[in-house]
């Protein structure tokens, strides 16, 4: 069972291998499925992730609710700023917009945070010349980090706020990106700790209860945080608080959040005058007079 980042890093360091190898080996043992089949299945998932970026980039219509759509194209095709950051922002938002438009995505770890990993890993793979196979392997590293978070804390916005969804996606992407950029296992753990630290306390406050505002933009920001954590880690900047303790802190913070800030559309941006007005206008949105759940 993958229950601590420290243990995974230690195992990888002792065996002189990458974290992705440790996680893949664990999957092969626990599932009883052959290694090639497990790797092939992950490659397919990467393929669906990459396709969802392309689909989201060229989205012609607004989402069924009318609240989102078209921002990825603005960032990727029409903005005067075009660089690594704009690519991460644009691709993360592309997938999140495609999800809102009922497109096919890979929940990673959730549908609401599905843009972060595809964006960060595809951009970092291009910048560092990694192959598709290496990128698929880095998804095992991301999965291992996600399993530890799921074991020690939660990946659900309803339990831990947005820090548990986009924050976790960001930590997973940061760690996997470090491996893709040839960082060592310890550097992976620094990136996990620093990405999650940067988003501690982030609330889940979807306008009208829908996975659109602010969720779509937060996918972009979570990608930007992951990219920043990659830069810090590659530069040798350590996190003083170990990754496992940051994860534990995230859980404690999540439990301390009031219910209004845990995916109930009763607080934060959802409860602003404009948020409420949007929800009231939108026939598809959650009704305001109902009790929050």
């Amino acid at each position: 069972m993958l229950t601590s980042i420290e243990h995974i890093v230690k195992t990888a360091s002792e065996q002189r291998c990458r974290i992705s190898e440790v996680v893949l080996e664990h999957e092969v043992v626990t599932s009883g499925r052959p290694r090639d089949l497990v790797v092939e299945k992950m490659r397919k998932r990467l393929g669906i992730m990459l396709l969802s970026i392309e689909k989201g980039k060229h989205l012609a219509e607004r989402s069924p609710t009318g609240l989102s759509g078209g921002d990825a194209a603005r960032i990727l095709s029409h903005s005067p700023v075009q660089d690594t950051l704009s690519e991460v922002l644009g691709r993360a938002i592309a997938v999140a917009e495609y999800n809102a438009a009922m497109g096919k995505i890979v929940a990673a770890p959730t549908a609401g945070s599905a843009g972060v990993l595809p964006a960060v890993l595809s951009v970092v793979a291009e910048r560092f010349g990694a192959t598709e196979e290496q990128t698929a392997m880095s998804l095992f590293t991301a999965a291992g980090i996600g399993m530890v978070i799921s074991h020690r804390a939660t990946l659900a916005g309803a339990q831990g706020g947005c820090q548990a969804e986009c924050g976790s996606a960001s930590a997973m992407a940061a760690g996997a990106a470090v491996e893709l950029a040839n960082g060592n296992p310890e550097q992976v753990s620094w990136a996990v700790a620093s990405a999650l630290s940067a988003q501690l306390g982030l609330v889940c406050d979807p306008v009208g209860g829908l996975v659109e505002v602010p969720c779509i933009q937060r996918n972009g920001y979570a990608g930007a945080v992951a990219l920043s954590a990659l830069y810090l880690s590659l530069a040798g900047v350590k996190s003083l608080i170990p990754a496992d303790e940051v994860i534990d802190a995230m859980y404690a913070v999540g439990r301390a959040l009031p219910e209004s800030l845990r995916e109930t559309a009763a607080g934060g941006l959802a409860a602003t005058p404009t948020g409420l007005a949007i929800a009231a206008r939108c026939a598809m949105c959650a009704q305001r007079d109902s009790d929050p759940q």
Partner: protein
């Protein structure tokens, strides 16, 4: 837990609990009557009732009843496909009592048969079947399982389990429930392997058994 629970599921958006989970609940309800129903009434509870349109929960439930999986790209067109398949449906919000916030109750009919199925979407696309025809149960769709409606009499359980034992099927979990003493009862039997059709038929033909429903695990398509 598998890496593919974290990097996955592959699904049609926007929500794992309100869209992907809803497709799976539709799959389970369909499996109970073993056919695309001719008529379905669905009552949605809690968060499902309040946000079903914005999360396409309605399209997802209907898609599941039609036998589509959570990653089927026809889910957005499920209402039209239902009309073409001759399935009539009605979806309303309601109160199902003290149940999980994301719960649904299906009243299905096909030819002369009908069923009432209840279930909940408990997060991340995971679901639990919580009721069939008034019997309470708890089945997550992760194992091979038999639902056996039988007479509440001594020997019924032994008769069913001996058929499974004779076929070398190992029982992983089992629960018996009944509405009142001496009437009809329900066994939920989860086994480790796939259950051959001949075994299902042998259980169905037992004197004490009224009806058997076989559930295969809801697995990923890839």
């Amino acid at each position: 837990m598998s890496v593919f629970d974290i990097i996955g599921p592959v699904m049609i958006g926007p929500s794992s609990s309100h869209t992907a989970g809803a497709v799976k609940l539709g799959n389970m309800a369909r499996n109970v009557i073993g056919h695309t129903p001719e008529r379905v009434e669905i009552v949605l509870h809690g968060s499902f009732a309040r946000t079903y349109k914005g999360h396409a929960t309605d399209l997802a439930l209907v898609a599941g009843l039609l036998g589509m999986r959570p990653d089927d790209e026809r889910i957005p067109q499920s209402f039209r496909i239902a009309a073409e398949s001759g399935m009539q449906f009605r979806i309303d919000g309601g109160d199902l009592g003290d149940v999980h916030p994301n719960s649904a109750r299906f009243s299905l009919s096909w030819q002369n048969t009908g069923a009432i199925v209840e279930g909940s979407s408990v997060g991340g696309g995971a679901v639990v079947l919580t009721g069939v025809d008034g019997f309470a149960l708890e089945y997550t769709g992760s194992s091979h399982a038999l639902l056996v409606f039988h007479l509440d009499r001594p020997g019924s359980v032994a008769a069913v389990t001996s058929v499974l034992a004779a076929s070398m099927l190992n029982i992983g979990a089992m629960r018996v429930s009944r509405k009142e003493k001496g009437s009809e009862a329900l066994m939920l039997i989860e086994v480790d392997q796939e259950i051959p059709g001949a075994v299902v038929a042998r259980v169905s033909s037992l004197e004490q058994v009224r009806r058997v429903i076989y559930f295969a695990p809801l697995e990923d398509d890839d």
